[in-house]
Symmetry: C2
Subunit: 297 residues, 2 copies
């Protein structure tokens, strides 16, 4: 059963404009084409939809009954299709992004500002979650894109490096180590370290890197979120080793940020997407934008 949409559209336009020639002009085809399309449709259906002489065009009884249906059909189709073309050509549409909290307050705002300029009206739904959750959200399709940490490589995931940032030492100004220009890991033996929960991707990564170099850290306290850790440091509870971007420059007076060397350990931030899956144009545009931003910094 091969359905003739052109014929239905021809019928609707001819009926609405009351003539083949007018309809032809409106559809940017010749009158000949319309005559034939309607003839073909009528032949296919086996009934007449329009009674026409060279003087009048008017609906038959069946045509009058069919017209409203035909109108909604044509309307629905053209509306749906033109919406899709809009989605395609101008990257219109919304999408969902999963992102770890530090990056949500660090890198995302700038990217979102730029995106809003080039794609006004598009909304980004943000899932801020832990590194693992970001990974799962992308994997299971809850989010088209994810910003997080590198994971054990998964066949269905594609990671693209956005940036690397060093781990830094954070303490209050009153702390004995606060004067040093830089700190080595062995300085930390007896510090009151505020660690991150061993369940976090961050912590696992850090432990792994340190273990490779024979370093072992034992924290006095343990929290789940980097922002909590910063809070505790500020409150004088202890010191912490955290990614540089945990704290914006100058955000908290009284806190010191000191480079950690020998070795300098950096964590990678990647953008995640499912392999072999096509991004929506809206998400794709964002992806390109973030890569561009990362490359130019």
């Amino acid at each position: 059963m091969k359905i003739d949409f052109d014929g239905i559209q021809a019928f609707v336009v001819i009926a609405e404009l009351g003539g083949f020639s007018k309809a032809a002009e409106h559809l940017h085809v010749t009158q000949t084409a319309l005559t034939r399309r309607l003839q073909k449709l009528e032949a296919y259906l086996g009934l007449r939809l329009l009674d026409r002489t060279t003087r009048y065009v008017e609906l038959t009884v069946v045509g009058r009954e069919f017209l409203p249906q035909a109108q909604t059909i044509v309307g629905d189709v053209t509306r749906a299709v033109s919406r899709l073309k809009d989605v395609s050509s101008r990257s219109r549409g919304n999408f969902t992004l999963a992102c770890i909290p530090t990056m949500a307050s660090q890198m995302l705002p700038k990217a979102m500002r730029r995106y809003a300029e080039t794609h006004p009206g598009n909304r980004i739904r943000i899932i801020d979650a832990s590194g693992f959750e970001v990974r799962d959200a992308v994997l299971h399709g809850q989010a088209e894109l994810g910003i997080g940490l590198p994971t054990e490589s998964h066949v269905e995931l594609e990671e693209t490096l956005l940036l690397e940032e060093p781990y830094m030492f954070f303490c209050r100004e009153e702390h004995p180590l606060s004067r040093k220009k830089q700190i080595v890991w062995s300085d930390l033996h007896e510090a009151e370290l505020i660690g991150i929960s061993t369940m976090s991707a961050n912590r696992i990564f850090l432990d792994y890197q340190l273990a490779k170099r024979g370093i072992k850290l034992s924290g006095t306290y343990e929290v789940r979120h980097l922002s909590t850790a910063i809070g505790l440091v500020a409150a004088g509870v202890g010191v912490a080793i955290l990614p540089n971007s945990t704290l914006e420059e100058g955000a908290r007076p009284g806190l010191c940020r000191i480079p950690l060397t020998s070795p300098t350990i950096k964590r990678k931030i990647v953008i995640l997407r499912k392999r072999n899956s096509t991004l929506s144009p809206a998400a794709s545009a964002f992806f390109d934008l973030v890569l561009d931003q990362a490359g130019s910094s």
Copy 2:
């Protein structure tokens, strides 16, 4: 903007069945054709609707969003079209018929019974009205067909003769004229005649026919409907000259029906339709049936 319905249908079926080959079988085309239809649609839209490898076929984000719309579109169209094909091939559907009351109780029942046998499920809406109203109903499109009296010929109306019936004399058995085998018009001079309203098409026709022959009738009473006239005759109020079919044979014991001759005047019953307008298949089938019934009687 040329819209590719086949492509949309291909998309829906492939998405629903989860594979090109299965979908191809379902649509009775080759897998090649479907691959191309979808490619063409995607190229036209400028975006990918299905991510496919040789192993999996799955929706993209955009495709998932579009699928429900596409499904309703395809559903609506195929439903509407197949309904129309049904209307065409099996004359399914309802129509409206205008009919004068005598014929509605006389000739129509048989026609409707036969129609119901060949077209079960079809409904006929009947407008029972005067001869003039029947004509107007057809002319203005309230009814596709009309059964009534011949009118002054109108360019837009086409009349086909169904039957002719003589005017008869009706009286009670006690009436002095009831013994006669036939009655001539001059017998009626002093009868108490129950006439039909001068506004009715029936009366106008009868007066015209009689006037041509120099006969003039003066009624004592005047009513609007033939059935009322019969009632009055039965009640002994008077006698009446009415078309033969006003009373079914043997319907009212005690009433006599006597032929009127010198001359015998007959009224014609015609079926009316608008000229140059196409009947719906349902109405057309009824039209043929009625003509056939008239021809064979």
